[in-house]
């Protein structure tokens, strides 16, 4: 029901997805009937507390559910394939990493501490540039035909012509080697050019390359090509001194830089969809804003679809085109960023916005949501938010509300939108939302311009 008009292309279409886990012998249902269309090129932010099921939702896109997870019903359509129907790892290899890449929360543990950063990125590049089976088969076919043609040609020649022909071929091959080698040399840093071992290794690589290029065989990236591309990527994610830091290990990087490296690895395969699972939660506020800027810029350059998971509404305001608010395993409200921030409709969204300290004032205590998110061990009857909802209706405890449409882009799943529901007074913060936002931003905006700033 989060269907948009078909002007834009839909990258991922999720319909009625329900999934759960088997824990201690019981089946626990985590996600219930989630339907949403993710449009190509947009940034969708999924907002919710820990325990709302947002990470599990995106894990289903890459088949990374834990071993005890199962998908109950529903479908995820991506490129015409239903990802729910995949049941072997082989089917996922083409999608995971190549088409859908994920960035995780903790940069400390996302990288392998035993290998240098450069090595890790190069490995990914080489892996993903490996020729596919079809390409190799095609090549074999072509090679067979070419060999046949060449054989026929040679048979027609006499001895002298043959000698000339082979000499010419040898010369051509040598030329090819020289060109490739010269090109490869350019990629080496000045220091490395004086290192005889590195030159020797480079020569070996280029020889292999020449052989492959000579017979037209598709090949994966060689080491020096991968290194060049890695340095490119590192520069693109704004890591200073890329050449020197190429050899560093993850522990020598700070948290923000590690996260950038993780983004670089995700970039390496030119994915179509990038899933960011709380990438900035573990980072400081200053680094956070830098990483978010980076993701935004890269999205502009590469044009991929971003799914951004977070519990921080402030971060969301920066990146999101559309926002989906999740609670208790369901999407309770979705809409464009402006819909959600300026015209929130679900009591949970009200509560989330009211609890922002930027919108609070010193005289009154901050509004907060009492209680805890529902644990899925017991079955949830009715609206999962009912027991913490200040505006709960009787019917909330009995029946799960359907999705009510507010506008073309905005819908919310609450009985309050039912025409028979009483009119409720929104919380103070929501009523004064625009004024408070303006006040908060006025205070902070003036620091973004003017004064002595080093940019």
């Amino acid at each position: 029901m989060a269907n948009l008009k078909n002007e834009k292309n839909v990258a991922i279409k999720v319909t009625d997805l329900s999934l759960g886990f088997v824990a201690r012998g019981k089946k626990i249902h985590v996600l219930r009937d989630i339907s949403i269309d993710i449009v190509e090129g947009e940034t969708l932010a999924i907002v919710g507390e820990s325990g709302s099921g947002k990470s599990v939702f995106t894990k289903a896109f890459t088949g990374m559910l834990d071993a005890n997870g199962f998908i109950n019903s529903g479908s995820i359509i991506f490129h015409g394939q239903d990802l729910v129907a995949f049941n072997s790892n082989k089917q996922w290899i083409d999608i995971r990493g190549r088409k859908i890449a994920t960035i995780f929360q903790d940069p400390m543990t996302s990288l392998n501490p035993l290998f240098s950063i450069g090595y890790q990125i190069s490995e990914v590049l080489k892996l993903h540039s490996k020729p596919t089976k079809e390409q190799l088969q095609e090549f074999k076919k072509r090679k067979k035909e070419n060999n046949k043609i060449e054989k026929e040609k040679i048979q027609k020649m006499d001895k002298n012509e043959k000698e000339q022909y082979f000499a010419k071929r040898k010369e051509e091959k040598k030329q090819l080697f020289e060109t490739l080698y010269a090109k490869a040399l350019l990629d080496l840093s000045k220091k490395d050019r004086k290192d005889p071992l590195k030159l020797f290794l480079l020569k070996q690589e280029v020889k292999k390359e020449t052989n492959d290029a000579w017979i037209g065989k598709p090949r994966a990236m060689s080491n020096h090509e991968a290194k060049k591309e890695t340095l490119n990527l590192l520069k693109k994610v704004q890591i200073p001194n890329a050449e020197d830091r190429y050899k560093d290990y993850p522990f020598q990087y700070s948290g923000g830089m590690r996260q950038r490296v993780v983004i670089a690895i995700a970039l390496a395969c030119h994915p179509e969809v990038l899933i960011c699972d709380e990438p900035t939660t573990a980072l400081d506020v200053t680094v956070q804003s830098q990483i978010i800027q980076l993701i935004k810029e890269l999205q502009k350059d590469y044009g991929w679809t971003t799914i951004f998971i977070t519990h921080d509404l402030g971060v969301v305001a920066n990146v999101a085109d559309r926002i989906a608010v999740m609670y208790g395993g369901q999407i309770v409200e979705y809409g464009t960023a402006e819909d959600i921030f300026y015209r929130p409709a679900h009591p949970y969204t009200w509560a989330l916005l009211s609890s922002l300290p930027q919108l609070g004032s010193k005289e009154e205590p901050l509004t907060f949501i009492p209680g805890n998110p529902p644990s899925f061990s017991s079955e949830i009857i009715g609206d999962p938010f009912a027991e913490r909802n200040h505006y709960a209706l009787n019917i909330d405890f009995l029946a799960n509300p359907p999705m009510f449409k507010i506008s073309e882009t905005h819908s919310a799943k609450t009985w309050l939108l039912d025409p028979r529901a009483p009119k409720v007074e929104k919380p103070k913060v929501i009523v004064e939302l625009r004024e408070r936002m303006k006040k908060a931003s006025d205070e902070l905006i003036k620091h973004q311009k003017g004064g002595r700033t080093g940019v």
């Binding site: 507390e49 820990s50 325990g51 700070s254 948290g255 400081d284 506020v285 200053t286 680094v287 956070q288 804003s289 830098q290 800027q293 519990h311 921080d312 509404l313 402030g314 971060v315 305001a317 920066n318 999101a320 960023a337 402006e338 921030f341 509560a351 989330l352 916005l353 609890s355 922002l356 300290p357 930027q358 919108l359 609070g360 010193k362 205590p365 901050l366 509004t367 907060f368 949501i369 009492p370 805890n372 998110p373 936002m437 303006k438 908060a440 931003s441 205070e443 902070l444 905006i445 620091h447 973004q448 311009k449 004064g451 002595r452 700033t453 080093g454 940019v455």
Partner: protein, 335 residues
């Protein structure tokens, strides 16, 4: 183990009403904190001077690695200061101090930790965790009295007394953090160091913990040192804010003044990074990055913490002082 009350009899830290000259509860003078790794010494904080007023909430803001956690831990003597003096109610609590004083200090200063899952002992139930301090000093008359104290404090943080027999892993992050607060508060301290208490919590739960800290501060007349890296949170809860960069305090002012007229470039960069929950404005945001090289300090141009207006301190060299004063005039004039 004697059953008597083990709090030292003489309260060195007690001072009469008359003796409160400037009402400063903790005074840090020229404090140096460093870590010894093998033979190398890594200096985190050097020549630090900080006064914390009684009854206020002082926010200490900086990024990771700036040394803010180290300051908190130095006051409570987990990473002791290597040189300089820390005074509590004008009594020295840094360096070598008598054991009695050290014990007494633990009843006056308490700490709230950052990570709710790591700061509670997973193998002990809530009763033991919250009453650990009470047991150490035997601050109760009988078992019933102890359980009564623990139950009362749990109710004050919004949890139910039935939870005494439960274990930490059965609770959510926010509840665990509240248990940590209860554990610190049951000792009835005068000074609490809150070391990034909300950084590990979800947005919607932070509000509850913040309210709780504020409530305690108002009801018990606590002094709180609130360490954080997020300015928006700190502004809501603090009276004054100190900004720290690379082990040095670069700006100190009342919360509102810092936001109205933050002068130091690092403060400005922190302020520009605060997320504004308004999509239209946030998307056009320009982040200001801080480059320490911009200061061009030299032997002649030494920066110091100067009071540029009453209650507002900035680290500036003589030349920068002139610029800041001009900026303040501009801001005042512009209004």
């Amino acid at each position: 183990m004697s059953k008597q009350n083990r709090i030292p009899k003489v309260d060195e830290f007690a001072i009469s009403q008359a003796e409160r000259p400037d009402d400063i509860i903790v005074k840090m003078q020229d404090v140096k904190i460093s870590f010894k790794i093998g033979t190398q010494e890594r200096v985190i904080i050097n020549h630090l001077n900080l006064d914390i007023k009684r009854g206020e909430i002082l926010g200490l803001v900086g990024e990771s690695g700036s040394g803010k956690t180290t300051i908190g831990r130095a006051i409570i003597r987990i990473n002791p200061a290597r040189s300089g003096k820390i005074l509590y109610n004008n009594v020295c609590i840094s360096g070598k101090i008598p054991k009695e004083r050290e014990k007494l200090l633990k009843t006056k200063i308490q700490m709230i930790f950052q990570d709710p899952s790591a700061s509670l002992n997973e193998r002990a139930n809530i009763d033991y965790i919250v009453s650990e301090g009470l047991r150490a000093f035997h601050m109760y008359d009988s078992e019933e009295d102890r359980i009564d104290k623990v139950s009362k404090i749990l109710e004050r943080v919004g949890l139910r007394p039935e939870f005494l027999s439960r274990y930490p892993h059965e609770f959510s992050g926010g509840q665990r953090q509240r248990i940590g607060i209860a554990r610190a508060m049951v000792m009835k301290p005068e000074f609490v160091i809150a070391d990034e208490p909300i950084s590990a919590l979800d947005m919607s739960i932070r509000a509850q913990v913040l309210n709780l800290i504020k409530e305690f501060q108002q009801q018990e007349n606590l002094t709180v040192l609130f360490i954080a890296h997020d300015l928006s949170v700190v502004k809501y809860i603090s009276d004054r804010i100190a900004v720290i960069y690379a082990g040095k305090i670069v700006e100190l002012a009342s919360a509102q003044r810092l936001f109205d007229a933050g002068l130091h470039p690092y403060t400005k960069s922190l302020l520009s990074a605060v997320p504004i929950p308004d999509p239209q404005i946030e998307k056009k945001k320009k982040i200001v990055t801080y480059d320490p090289m911009m200061h061009r300090y030299s032997a002649k141009n030494v920066p110091e913490l100067i009071e540029i207006e009453p209650g507002h301190f900035v680290r500036a060299s003589a030349s920068e002082r002139i610029e800041y004063e001009a900026e303040l005039k501009r801001l005042a004039g512009g209004k």
